[in-house]
Symmetry: C2
Subunit: 426 residues, 2 copies
């Protein structure tokens, strides 16, 4: 049993970290490393929820013509001067203007073109007289536009110049800045981009994230637990977290706890490498040693619980996160550090994708000074109920919980009845 | 020009809806039609953010064995009775227990097995003595487990039975209900499901949504605007909205404004059909007439602005939404009705996927009684600033806005300084 030769024989391992960094120090290092990735061009249809890499200006007017904003009759406004319900003013109808099919002629005083909402305004017109201000509007028996021509209708009200007209460029004016770089594209943004003729857009590339799940006690997700072998929980959880944070997951399977295998995985074609397991200070914890030797182990050991045996560093151009193997620790450390980085590399907000609420704590929750605590809580009618402090090994504590609260390092906890902020998982 | 024969000749078209339904009545009809779709089985790896169709019970204990929760020495607790820092009690070390690699022998009084966090507790042991409570812990020179055997260490503290042990089934107890039907699966849920050996899960099927974008004045997204032809904005916007709401989009391209083409599209293999354009009451508005003739047009014309010319109905098993062609109206009517339905069919919450905030209105906003108004607003330091009331044709009003507020039908609006709820688009 070769691996038994690397037993628990290291005093450091047996004694724990000599010194842990505050969460703030870890975040400070991390944030100094975070810049959005380079750009890529994607088809407009795939650009929803992506982040613009460059500003976009409209290169054309939308619409490219004046148009009717109501159904009615396009006129020269002065043709209606003096028109009242009692004293109508006759207008000779020349034809129709329909969406995409304008009336091609010129309209003069005393003339009108029947027009449908959205249709191009005929040349010469400066207003639309609404249908309800017209008597003897063409009826269904005059469906044929040719028959319509020459018919006389009566304007029953005045219309002011410019009324019921949408001007060329009212939606997008040629040359106007539509979106700044960094814009998270909304569904309606795609509509506006489509309307100016955009076919593709430059967006921030999604971070490629290699998952390196180690642990000789593990069998792959999809297997049944076998004796003293547990099924990998962190792999599928991390993959879903990375996808939530708009990273591209590369998870080719479990990685043996050997130097060669881990070093090989650190060389992945990726922007981020997340190692799960073996992140502490023992002889069996290979990843921190490998990262310190072949790359940079900037932070190792953080004053938080769970998640204390976390490491942050670099391997070449890659940001590397060494996360503890216990799944609650893994989740917590991911959310504090790796998720933040993946979002920022993708040009997104560093803030948590969790909604927070405020509610009263049902019972006192204590925490030692100098350590940040991440407490899973239930949120019900009665308030915020901390779950029994269960180990970092009990992932179901995060599925039974509605969310979590943080007890900062400079706090000894919260008394029952305190109004606390709870971050909701769901 | 055959289509000109179907000009603006219908009095109804020219006069508008004879009667509009309140938004509440439309929602009441819609909600009565909404039930989650049937189930489908997906691989666990694809189940994140899906909705469980059936409850799931754990069929095994996780872990399947008692394990150490600290690095240290597995012992029978009574072996340490009376141990103090001054008067250590000797323990003979039998070997190692490592994750996945248990110590296979039996431990008796006065004996110990060096154990690593997460490793199986050896037979006979009932506690783990933490490494820091042991003098002469094995050092790095005893890396070889065989050399370790027989070595004597000193317990420097008592340990109580059960201490630092994680019990079999502490994470998942065999037979326990893990998740109820309707659960929106979180990343950590996949971890728990993986740990019980789940390979696939039964989830609510995603609604298939056929987009039917009509309008003879349109050219497809990806084209340049051409004369009096506009580029379709609604298609890409609706596709992104449907994807946001976890529907599966089927958008084969623009559909001509003809009865045959629209009827054919209504027969799509889909759970939901969304028609954009031609939703009003004119002769050119074919979809409402077709739906009324061949299906059910349950609601047509709604007291809201924008979005008034909206229709809701059924065509066979399909829910059908007739949305106005003007893009702001289309967005608004989608969000009120179609998005709600797509989420509910998928087993999700009907509520908007928008976050809301409260802030003060910078200026008075009025609205007629009897109509719900959807007002785009900017949200800044100074408060909530309504955008100039621009037409439903100006989609960029929804990209310049941070969000929108609603003025209910029973309100004449809000005075400047009123604290209002704003729904944020972003």
């Amino acid at each position: 049993m070769d691996r038994h030769n690397k037993g628990l024989t290291d005093d450091v391992r047996m004694r724990g970290f000599s010194r842990r960094q505050p969460v703030e120090a870890a975040l400070e290092w991390l944030d100094s490393e975070l810049r959005p990735l380079d750009a890529e061009v994607v088809p407009l249809q795939q650009a929803a929820s992506r982040v613009l890499a460059s500003p976009i200006d409209g290169e054309i007017d939308v619409p490219g013509f004046d148009r009717a904003m109501m159904d009615g009759y396009a006129v020269i406004a002065s043709s209606t001067t003096g028109a009242t319900l009692r004293d109508g003013i006759p207008l000779t109808v020349l034809g129709d203007s329909l969406p995409g099919y304008p009336y091609e002629g010129v309209v003069g005083i005393g003339e009108a073109v029947r027009i449908m909402t959205g249709s191009p305004l005929p040349v010469g017109c400066d207003a639309v007289l609404p249908a309800e201000s017209v008597r003897n509007a063409a009826g269904a028996d005059e469906a044929d536009a040719r028959a319509l021509s020459g018919r006389v209708v009566n304007a029953l009200a005045e219309v002011a110049p410019g009324r019921h007209i949408g001007r060329r460029g009212e939606d997008v004016a040629r040359g106007a800045r539509l979106f700044e770089a960094g814009r998270l594209l909304r569904p309606q943004d795609l509509g506006v981009l489509s309307s100016v003729g955009a076919r593709e857009v430059r967006v921030v590339r999604k971070p490629r994230v290699r998952l390196v799940v180690t642990g000789n006690e593990l069998v792959p997700s999809g297997s049944k637990p076998d004796g003293y072998r547990l099924v990998d929980a962190n792999g599928p959880m991390l993959a879903a977290l990375v996808e939530r944070d708009h990273g591209v997951v590369d998870f080719p399977g479990l990685v043996p706890d050997t130097e060669d295998a881990i070093l090989d995985a650190l060389r992945a074609d990726a922007d981020v490498v997340i190692v799960s397991g073996g992140s502490s200070v023992g002889v069996q914890d290979l990843a921190p040693m490998l990262l310190a030797t072949h790359g940079e182990l900037a932070i190792h050991g953080i004053s938080m619980r769970p998640g204390s045996p976390t490491g942050l560093g670099r391997f070449g151009h890659r940001l590397v996160f060494l996360l503890p193997g216990f799944p609650v620790s893994c989740l917590c450390a991911y959310d504090f550090f790796a998720g933040r980085a993946i979002r920022a590399l993708g040009g997104r907000s560093k803030t948590w994708p969790y909604r927070s609420i405020r509610a009263k704590l049902t019972r006192t929750l204590t925490s030692p000074l100098g350590r940040l605590d991440y407490a899973r809580v239930r949120v019900g009618e009665g308030g915020v109920e901390p779950l029994a402090i269960s180990g970092a090994s009990v992932l179901s504590s995060t599925t039974r919980a509605e969310g979590f609260l943080l007890i900062p390092a400079d706090s000894e906890g919260f008394a029952a009845g305190t109004d606390v902020e709870v971050w909701l998982y769901g």
